[in-house]
């Protein structure tokens, strides 16, 4: 009862619903587990692909951690310490670093020397680098026209559109390659694993799309915000199944 009372008071003071913290906290738990598992996989194999996947999820984890911790600080302190706008920008910066390493992983696993698209890796790195550069402007409080369209807004709309587009390209490549592998796989286990990886790519795209919709659906916390965080957690779970292939999933598909 007392906790509920405190939460309601804090919600009124900070204008942050406790459900937002629960949604972000759930995603944080999923990404923490995933990052730890991938770190142990990388330590035991020392393969480039595993390192890139680990780095990708480590950056996604840092993005979620940044958003959760700054939002919690805002929630607990009311509006005395307003650092969640900083958290959003740093979170986006970490997420794009995650996207870069996820694309490197896609190239490591799904491309051979004979079907690799020349310079695509460089183009994707550069495109994300541009986003990172602009985000730095916001992070270091150097906002100025034409980057900040509305006074007081926490992230540039143009930059957000650019980030969604660049992220979608990387995820679409992963989706197409993983889906092709799903169709052509010979075993049920491989088919299931590739399908989960392709679903992961779709969920990741949806996360960015839902955040984008939330941005344009009026002030405050819209339902897109909660759907986005729920999708982020689902993306984490499908990544866990698709990339780590737990034994229960293998057994479910009749494998060893």
């Amino acid at each position: 009862m007392m906790i509920t009372k405190i939460l309601l008071i804090q919600q009124q003071v900070s204008e942050i619903p406790p459900l937002a913290l629960i949604a972000e906290g759930t995603a944080l738990l999923v990404y923490t587990y995933l990052t730890l598992k991938l770190s142990s996989k990388w330590r035991s194999t020392r393969k480039d692909a595993t390192r890139n996947l680990f780095l990708s999820f480590a950056f996604y984890f840092l993005a979620v951690l940044m958003l959760f911790s700054t939002k919690t600080t805002n929630f607990l302190t009311g509006d005395q310490i307003d650092i969640s706008s900083l958290g959003i920008n740093v979170g986006y910066a970490f997420s794009l670093l995650g996207n870069i390493f996820l694309y490197y992983f896609t190239e490591d696993i799904f491309f051979d020397d004979d079907n690799r698209v020349t310079y695509l890796k460089d183009v994707i790195t550069l495109a994300n680098g541009i986003t990172l550069g602009f985000l730095m402007i916001f992070i270091f409080q150097l906002q100025s026209a034409p980057f900040l369209e509305v006074p007081g807004e926490y992230i540039s709309t143009h930059l957000l559109i650019w980030h969604v587009l660049v992220s979608t390209v990387g995820f679409l490549i992963l989706f197409v390659k993983a889906f092709q592998a799903t169709i052509k796989a010979n075993t049920r286990v491989s088919r299931g694993g590739f399908l989960m990886i392709s679903l992961t790519a779709i969920f990741e795209i949806l996360v960015f799309v839902f955040f984008f919709l939330d941005r344009f659906s009026g002030a405050g916390y819209t339902y897109w915000y909660f759907i986005a965080w729920m999708t982020a957690s689902v993306a984490g779970l499908s990544s866990m199944i698709g990339y780590l292939m737990p034994s229960w999933f293998r057994r479910l598909l009749g494998g060893s």
């Binding site: 996989k41 990388w42 035991s44 194999t45 393969k47 692909a49 595993t50 996947l53 490591d108 696993i109 799904f110 092709q180 592998a181 052509k184 796989a185 010979n186 075993t187 491989s190 694993g193 590739f194 990339y243 780590l244 292939m245 057994r251 009749g254 494998g255 060893s256």
Partner: protein, 162 residues
């Protein structure tokens, strides 16, 4: 000598104990299946203990040995170093699936396997292997192209992910 398209031998082994369930080699059998089964299970155990991933293949100076497994069994195929592993892997998976189904049905009936399974499985193995040899002879290596996706799966396994 018969053209086997690089096929040397096939062994089906109980995954936990290493006890041979069945084997197939053209001509007279040269391999001691009991020794081979024990050796393979020991090697897999070592890979597991050293945390260096799953044993999926190994090489000698003349042969490539490819391994696949399911719940109860391990299937190993030996082919010459010159042969394309991709052209034999789907055959190995098919054989493994057949053998697993047979083995489990016999385990459920609590029948001591060994000779019973050998009688049932060897003609089936011969049929599958000969079919692949014929395919390889007819189509050169064209039909191995579809194996690219298994190569992707192998890359994931090699990276310690699957």
């Amino acid at each position: 000598m018969e053209d086997t398209q690089g096929f040397i031998g096939l062994w089906i082994i109980d995954k936990d104990s290493g006890i041979p369930i069945s084997s197939f080699e053209f001509g007279h059998t040269k391999t001691d299946s009991v020794l081979f089964g024990g050796f393979l299970v020991a090697l897999r155990g070592m890979a597991h203990d050293f945390e260096i991933g799953q044993l999926t293949s190994f090489q000698t100076d003349t042969a490539n040995l490819i391994i696949t497994g399911s719940e109860a069994i391990l299937s190993v195929i030996a082919i010459t170093r010159e042969s394309n592993s991709d052209c034999w892997y789907p055959t190995l998976v098919t054989i493994n699936n057949h053998a697993e189904t047979f083995y489990r049905s016999y385990q459920e009936k609590e029948i001591i396997v060994d000779t019973v399974l050998n009688e049932h499985l060897v003609p089936e193995f011969r049929r599958i292997i000969v079919r692949n040899i014929n395919l390889l002879q007819k189509n050169s290596k064209d039909h191995c192209g579809s194996k690219k996706e298994e190569a992707v799966a192998d890359k994931l396994k090699d990276s310690g992910l699957w």
